[in-house]
């Protein structure tokens, strides 16, 4: 239907595609390419010593592990939230549903100072955890909490529509075949949700690696312990070490591109499953 006939019938192809390519090149592609050009200006030895510096390696490790933990926590609780919102009736559901979008709409700096205040020693939650010996603010746990906040809607909003469209009949069949509820969930429902859950997890993880605003307040920014990679880029820039900042950025960009590729493959597979042709 949409084939070559449409191309002849509708106007504006050249103009709209031309403008799209021009704009995306000017705003996104050329500036991003600058990171790699700048990196190539370094010799291999310089590049290698920059990105394998212990402080830099530690910042990668911290960024990855905290984003991973936050992604896993969100996969579990995000699924639970999506499940409850789709399946169970309870009062105030509309309100709860819109709460899920808050992390998308709230500026990250605001989330950062608010979470820090709550989870600091004297804060509402921090003061309750302090006697138990759990410190949240200014530790890696604090970074994880900030990334859980940032990543939550990605998981809920990718799982929710899939769960909503899940056919009752599949579960009916499982019950008729004598499966218990728990078995039905793990053997029938969860596999159906897996692609969406994985996509949501990957989105939350990718966002977590690069996140800056919500983390810098709660992390305390101690080198080797709570210093995330984006902050290290910032620090290097403030010291006019452009080469160092760029090298760290090039590694992060490469990882982000690979993640983006995986996410797009996952989403492509999901849409193929959703619309059988």
């Amino acid at each position: 239907m949409k084939g070559s006939k449409a191309r002849r019938a509708l106007p504006g192809f050249g103009l709209s595609l031309g403008f799209t390519l021009f704009y995306i090149s000017l705003i996104v592609l050329i500036p991003l390419a600058a990171v790699f050009f700048k990196t190539f200006e370094l010799s291999w030895a310089e590049l290698w010593s920059t990105i394998t510096n212990p402080r830099v390696l530690a910042s990668y490790r911290i960024s990855f592990t905290t984003a991973l933990w936050a992604g896993l926590i969100n996969a579990v609780f995000g699924l639970l939230v999506a499940w409850v919102l789709v399946r169970y009736p309870f009062p105030g559901k509309r309100f709860i549903d819109s709460l899920v979008d808050i992390p998308f709409a709230l500026p990250t700096a605001v989330a950062g100072i608010a979470l820090t205040t709550i989870y600091a020693k004297t804060g509402w939650v921090g003061s309750l955890l302090e006697p138990l010996g759990i410190k949240v603010a200014y530790t890696q746990l604090g970074i994880i909490i900030a990334l859980v906040f940032i990543g939550l809607p990605f998981v809920v909003r990718t799982v929710q529509p899939v769960l909503q469209d899940l056919e009752k009949e599949t579960e009916e069949a499982a019950v008729m075949l004598g499966a218990y509820r728990r078995r039905t969930f793990f053997k029938v429902v969860l596999p159906e949700l897996m692609p969406a859950l994985l996509t949501g997890f990957a989105l939350a993880f990718a966002r977590g690696i690069g996140e800056y605003g919500s983390v810098v307040f709660i992390s305390g920014n101690m080198p080797m312990r709570t210093e995330i990679a984006p902050l290290l880029i910032m620090t290097k820039l403030e010291q006019y070490d452009y080469a160092g900042a760029t090298a760290i950025a090039a590694v992060m960009l490469t990882v982000s591109f690979i993640l983006l590729l995986i996410i797009n493959l996952l989403q492509w597979r999901m849409s193929r499953r959703a619309i059988p042709d």
């Binding site: 949409k2 084939g3 006939k5 449409a6 191309r7 019938a9 509708l10 106007p11 504006g12 192809f13 595609l17 799209t20 995306i24 705003i27 996104v28 592609l29 050329i30 500036p31 991003l32 050009f37 609780f77 639970l80 939230v81 409850v84 399946r87 169970y88 009736p89 309870f90 559901k93 979008d101 808050i102 992390p103 709409a105 500026p107 700096a109 605001v110 100072i113 608010a114 205040t117 906040f149 909003r157 529509p161 009916e172 039905t184 990718a206 966002r207 690696i209 690069g210 996140e211 800056y212 605003g213 307040f217 820039l237 006019y240 452009y242 982000s256 591109f257 983006l260 590729l261 797009n264």
Partner: protein, 292 residues
């Protein structure tokens, strides 16, 4: 991908037959855990912003909101959004038109390119413009000779904001316009309608809610962006300070009441964004129902 909230109708939860749902007590336990989680992670921070803002009294709260530096940060934030949002709206409409109404090679690749800014760390989004236009950047010396300053000035803030908000409108419109197909536009064209009137009279009424929603999301991010803007802003009070940067400065100066007062403005921006989202979902749901 990131940041894209797709509009879909809120289906009411139909009561499921007993044998394919959990016992009532399990349901309530699960609901309780979900609510506790959302309360601790999402609701509490929101509430705390207002509590902290008013902790030292309403006087300090309003003083924080009306001091000259806050007002100039507000003004800059509005200016930046007023440039970035219309540009990205035009881009989003053009990109969605090309992608949804025509077939061409590399379409999926183009969609991935549009998504790219979502995958890039905000700090890197700022860094790229420093590398391009900074004093040591590729165009730095050339710009310097002509007395033009981009980085650590307002143009850099605008550029970084445009970068991080590029995908919002396009991501809302592409799936919507792909689902709508080309039949209506083709019918209009075969009746002799020109390009402009096809868009204004046929396409625009069909995509209006998705477009509004994309613009609102784009605006929320444009006004709230912190990391990217932080890199390219010179952090000069009253000059290159946006609202989120002003929140940081006040917070680091231990002016907590003022900091949270300014932050509460941004919370209200987020809440208004979500209210508009609700209205758009309701309206688009209603218009869908009307079509059937």
């Amino acid at each position: 991908m990131a940041g894209a909230i797709t509009v879909y109708g809120n289906k009411e939860t139909a009561q499921r037959p007993k044998h394919i749902t959990e016992p009532k007590y399990v349901q309530w336990i699960l609901i309780a855990i979900a609510l506790l989680f959302l309360g601790l992670v999402v609701l509490l921070p929101l509430v705390s912003v207002f509590v902290e803002g008013f902790r030292k009294g309403a006087d300090l709260y309003f003083k924080g909101l009306t001091e000259p530096d806050t007002l100039s940060a507000l003004k800059l934030t509005l200016i930046v959004a007023a440039i970035a949002v219309p540009l990205n709206t035009v881009f989003g409409v053009a990109a969605a038109w090309a992608i949804s109404k025509f077939q061409f090679k590399g379409k999926n690749f183009l969609i991935t390119l549009i998504d790219l800014p979502f995958a890039v760390s905000p700090v890197i989004a700022g860094l790229i413009y420093v590398l391009m236009f900074g004093a040591q950047g590729y165009f730095g010396p050339w710009l310097d000779d002509r007395g033009i300053q981009i980085v650590f000035a307002v143009p850099g803030i605008v550029l970084a904001t445009i970068f991080v908000t590029v995908p919002f409108v396009a991501r809302e419109l592409i799936p919507l316009m792909q689902a709508q197909g080309v039949q209506q536009e083709e019918a209009a064209a075969s009746l002799g309608a020109k390009g402009g009137s096809i868009f204004w009279r046929v396409t625009l009424p069909n995509i209006k809610w998705g477009l509004i929603y994309g613009i609102i999301l784009c605006n929320a991010r444009a006004m709230g962006e912190f990391g990217a803007v932080s890199v390219v802003s010179g952090h000069i009070r009253g000059q290159t300070n946006t609202l989120p940067l002003h929140v940081e400065i006040l917070y680091n100066e231990y002016q907590f009441s003022a900091s949270f007062a300014v932050a509460s403005l941004l919370v209200m921006l987020a809440v208004i964004t979500l209210i508009v989202k609700g209205i758009v979902e309701w309206k688009s749901g209603a218009s869908h129902a009307g079509n059937h």
